[in-house]
C-alpha cells in the first residue's frame, strides 16, 4: 500500500509541481531543519532500529555524517524505512532527500531511473545462505533448489542470471517484506536465501535462532557496490553527498578519528589542515560551513570506525575489511584529494 501511495504521490507530484533547480535540495533541507533519509527497514549492520528504536548501521551513519556536514550536528535526520520496491519512487518523488539503503549502483538506475550514485560505502557481492544440514558446499550444487529472494532487487536478476549461465534449474519464492522473506527461509520454505553476503552475515548473526546451523556458501556471484543515491539535476547536493563519503575515507587515510580530531586541528600536515577547515576554502566551495568535515568526523568518526562498529570486529556480524579496506591496504576505498 505504501508503495502504491508513493507511486500515486509521484504521479501527482510530477503532474503538478515544477522542476528541481540546482541547489534546491540544500535550501530545502536547511529550511526544513532536517534531512529526510531513506533507509532499509532492518538490515543488520546497515540500518536497523535497536531496542530503543534508534536506527544504527553504515547507511544510517552516512545520513548522520551528512546531517553533521549540513547542520553541524548528526541527529537532525528523519529516517524513512523503505522496502526494496518503494525506494526509488520515494527518492524520485522527493519524499526523501537521500537514499542510503544498501542499494547497488547500476547503469540502468542512473540512466533510466533519473538517479545518481555517490561513491560506494560498501563493496559487496551476492551470496547464498543454506542450512548446514543440507550438506551443500557450493552454489553449483543448488540445482532444483527453492530459493528465497526479495523482488525488485539486483539480487533477483543476478540469481536468474547465475542459474541460467550455469544451466541450473531454480524455483524462486519472492516476498517483498524482508522480515517475511527471512521467516520463510528460516521456517524451511526455501532451501537457500540469497542476498548481498554482508546482509546474509547480518541476518545469520541476528535473526537465526542458532547461527551455527547456517552457512554462507563461498561463491560471490555478483559485484554489488552499495552506494548512497540522490536525484539527478542538483549537482550541488550531489557534490555534498559525494564529498561527505570521501571525507570519511580521507579521514581514515590521514589518521583522523573521532577521538583525536581536536588534536589534529593543530596538525602541521597541510592535507589535514585543508580537510578540517583550518585552511579555509573547501567549505565555501561546497556551500557548507568550513568545519563541515571536522563536524562529520567528530560526530560519526572516520570510515574505519564506522565499519568496525557496524559490521566489523566490534559488531556481532564480524566481517573482514576485504575490499572495503583503504586502497593502500589492499582495498578499494580511495578518496580524491580534498583541495
Amino acid at each position: 500500500m505504501k508503495r502504491m501511495l508513493a507511486s500515486v504521490v509521484l504521479g501527482l507530484a510530477l503532474g503538478v509541481v515544477g522542476h528541481a533547480e540546482a541547489g534546491q535540495t540544500l535550501d530545502n533541507v536547511k529550511s526544513k531543519g532536517k534531512l529526510v533519509c531513506g533507509v532499509s527497514t532492518g538490515t543488520a549492520g546497515f540500518s536497523m532500529a535497536d531496542s530503543k528504536g534508534v536506527f544504527k548501521g553504515i547507511d544510517v551513519d552516512v545520513c548522520r555524517a551528512l546531517s553533521a556536514a549540513v547542520f553541524g550536528v548528526p541527529d537532525k535526520v528523519s529516517y524513512v524505512p523503505l522496502q526494496a520496491p518503494q525506494r526509488f519512487t520515494a527518492l524520485q518523488s522527493g519524499e526523501v532527500d537521500l537514499l542510503s539503503r544498501n542499494t547497488t549502483w547500476t547503469l540502468q538506475r542512473e540512466g533510466a531511473l533519473g538517479l545518481v550514485f555517490a561513491p560506494p560505502t560498501f563493496y559487496d557481492g551476492q551470496g547464498f545462505m543454506v542450512a548446514k544440514k543440507l550438506g551443500i558446499k557450493s552454489a553449483k550444487e543448488l540445482s532444483g533448489a527453492t530459493i528465497c529472494v526479495q523482488p525488485g532487487t539486483t539480487t533477483e536478476l543476478n540469481l536468474a542470471d547465475y542459474f541460467r549461465s550455469n544451466k541450473l534449474t531454480l524455483k524462486s519464492v519472492t516476498i517483498e517484506n524482508l522480515d517475511e522473506v527471512e521467516n520463510a527461509f528460516f521456517s524451511g520454505r526455501c532451501d537457500a536465501f540469497t542476498a548481498d553476503s554482508s546482509a546474509l552475515a547480518g541476518t545469520r548473526a541476528t535473526k537465526a535462532s542458532n547461527p551455527d546451523d547456517f552457512i554462507i556458501l563461498p561463491e560471490r556471484i555478483s559485484k554489488e557496490p552499495l552506494a548512497p543515491a540522490v536525484r539527478q539535476g542538483d549537482d550541488q547536493w550531489f557534490d555534498i553527498v559525494r564529498w561527505t563519503v570521501y571525507a570519511l575515507i580521507d579521514a581514515e587515510e590521514l589518521g583522523i578519528n573521532s577521538g583525536n580530531v581536536d588534536e589534529m586541528l593543530k596538525s602541521a600536515d597541510p592535507n589535514v589542515q585543508r580537510l578540517l577547515g583550518v585552511t579555509q576554502g573547501n567549505g565555501k566551495a561546497l556551500g557548507l560551513d568550513e568545519k563541515w568535515a571536522y563536524n562529520i568526523i567528530k560526530a560519526v568518526g572516520n570510515y574505519g570506525e564506522i565499519f568496525d562498529r557496524n559490521v566489523g570486529k566490534d559488531s556481532p556480524v564480524k566481517l573482514e575489511r576485504g575490499l572495503n579496506n583503504l586502497w593502500n591496504a589492499g582495498g578499494l576505498m580511495y578518496s580524491p584529494p580534498a583541495r
Binding site: 510530477l14 503532474g15 528541481a20 540502468q108 532444483g144 533448489a145 533477483e156 517483498e176 524451511g188 536525484r231
Partner: protein
C-alpha cells in the same frame, strides 16, 4: 390570443443540458491533458525513462509459478502475461469455490439445527471481522511452519506428498488421447443440455418427467470414459518423486498459492453466506408454505421454489463479492505469490517506470472487473422477472 414567446436555443432545456455536459467533459479532458503533459515534461527533466518500450525488453527475473512456459530470458510482456494468468487462475477458482461454500454456509445459517446455525454464525462473525491481510499472513505462516520439509514429507496416500514445498498429487502422464477425452467431455456437456431441453418440452406436452440429472451425469462422465477406453485406457501416471531438493512430476500446489486461495475463499465465503441468507429470507414465507401444502419435500422446496426466487435478490450483491475477491487477490504480494500486481511491481522497480506500471495494473484490473460485471449483468437480466 397572446403571441407565442420567441423560443431561443438557449431556453431549450435539452440544449442547455447538452451544453453543460459538453463543458464538463471538456474541463475534465483539459485537466487530464495538463496532468499528462506536465508529467511527461517532468519525467524528461528528471531523466526518468518513459513509454512502454520495456515490454519488448528481457525481463531477467524468475517467476516462481507460471501456467505458461516462462524463463528469465523472456520479455516483460510475457512476464505480465504469466502474472495475469496467475491472477485469473486464483480468482476463477476462488469465485467457484466461495460461491459453492457460500451457498452451503447461507443455508446452514438458516438451519433449524441449533448447533449448525450457531457454528455458521460464529464463522461469519469471526472471519468478517479480521482483516484479510492478517488472515493471509497467518495462513501462510501456518502452512510454512506446520508442514515438514520435503525430505520428511507427509505421505497420506500413495503418490500424495505434503511438505512446506506444497501439496503434490499424482496426475495422468501426458498422452495424445487427452485431447479426445476433453472433446468428449465438452460434447457430454452440450448433450446434457440438449437432454434437459428435450425433457422439459416433453414434460410440458405429456406431463411425463424424465431423470435429467442422472442422464446428464451419465453423458458428462460416460462419454469421456468411453473415449478413454477407446484410446486403449492409457493408465500411465506422473507420480511426484523426491529428486534432490524437491519433488518432480505430478501436480503441485505451492504454499503461496494454497494460502492465497484458501484465504480468499474463507473470507469471501463469509460474505456470500450472508448474501445467500438474506436472499432466502427475502422470499415470502407463504411461498414455502404453499409448496409444503402441495406436498413437496423440504429439499425440493428449497431447490424448486425458494432458491430460484432468492437468486434474483442474490445476484447483484454477489457481483460485488466477485469483484472484491478478484481485487483482493492483489494481497498476494504480501505472501509471495506472483500474481499480476506482484509481477508489475517488480517491473516498476527494475525499470523505474512507475506510472506506466500503474497504468497497466489499472487497465488489467479494470478489464477483468468489467468483464465479470458484464457477465453477471447479462445473467441478472436473464433472471429478472419478465414484465410485459
Amino acid at each position: 390570443m397572446p403571441a407565442k414567446p420567441a423560443s431561443s436555443l438557449w431556453t431549450n432545456p435539452n440544449f442547455r443540458n447538452a451544453c453543460w455536459q459538453v463543458l464538463t467533459v471538456a474541463v475534465l479532458g483539459a485537466a487530464l491533458g495538463y496532468f499528462i503533459h506536465n508529467s511527461v515534461i517532468n519525467l524528461q527533466r528528471q531523466s526518468i525513462a518513459t513509454g512502454f518500450s520495456f515490454f519488448q525488453r528481457e525481463a531477467g527475473f524468475e517467476i516462481g509459478e507460471a501456467l505458461i512456459d516462462y524463463a528469465p530470458a523472456d520479455t516483460y510482456a510475457r512476464a505480465f502475461m504469466v502474472g495475469l494468468l496467475n491472477t485469473l487462475q486464483v480468482a476463477g477458482i476462488g469465485i467457484v469455490l466461495s460461491t459453492g461454500l457460500g451457498i452451503v454456509l447461507g443455508i446452514a445459517r438458516l438451519s433449524s439445527n441449533w448447533l449448525l446455525a450457531r457454528l455458521a454464525l460464529a464463522y461469519v462473525e469471526l472471519i468478517r471481522n479480521i482483516p484479510l491481510l492478517l488472515q493471509l499472513l497467518l495462513l501462510y505462516a501456518v502452512l510454512n511452519t506446520a508442514a515438514p520439509g520435503p525430505r520428511d514429507a507427509w505421505h497420506p496416500l500413495p503418490g500424495v506428498f505434503i511438505s512446506n514445498r506444497g501439496l503434490f498429487l499424482p496426475v495422468p502422464a501426458g498422452d495424445p488421447s487427452h485431447v479426445f477425452i476433453a472433446a468428449a467431455f465438452a460434447i457430454g456437456i452440450v448433450a446434457a443440455f440438449g437432454v434437459r431441453f428435450w425433457a422439459r418440452k416433453r414434460q410440458e406436452r405429456t406431463g411425463q418427467s424424465f431423470p435429467v440429472l442422472a442422464a446428464g451425469a451419465a453423458l458428462i462422465l460416460g462419454l469421456p470414459l468411453l473415449a478413454w477406453l477407446a484410446a486403449g485406457a492409457p493408465a500411465r501416471m506422473s507420480v511426484p518423486e523426491l529428486t534432490g531438493f524437491n519433488f518432480a512430476g505430478g501436480l503441485d500446489m505451492p504454499p503461496e498459492f494454497a494460502a492465497l486461495l484458501a484465504g480468499l475463499v474463507i473470507y469471501t465465503t463469509a460474505y456470500i453466506g450472508e448474501i445467500v441468507r438474506s436472499g432466502i429470507l427475502a422470499v415470502s414465507h407463504g411461498q414455502a408454505e404453499a409448496a409444503a401444502a402441495l406436498g413437496l419435500k423440504r429439499g425440493l422446496i428449497l431447490r424448486l421454489v425458494v432458491l430460484p426466487q432468492a437468486i434474483r435478490v442474490i445476484v447483484p450483491p454477489m457481483t460485488s463479492q466477485y469483484l472484491n475477491l478478484t481485487k483482493n487477490s492483489t494481497l498476494a504480494v504480501a505472501i509471495g505469490f506472483p500474481d499480476f500486481f506482484s509481477v508489475v511491481n517488480t517491473q516498476i522497480n527494475q525499470t523505474g517506470q512507475a506510472i506506466e506500471g500503474m497504468a497497466c495494473i489499472i487497465g488489467a484490473y479494470l478489464s477483468v472487473s468489467l468483464t465479470i460485471s458484464l457477465l453477471m449483468n447479462i445473467y441478472n437480466a436473464r433472471l429478472a422477472l419478465k414484465e410485459r
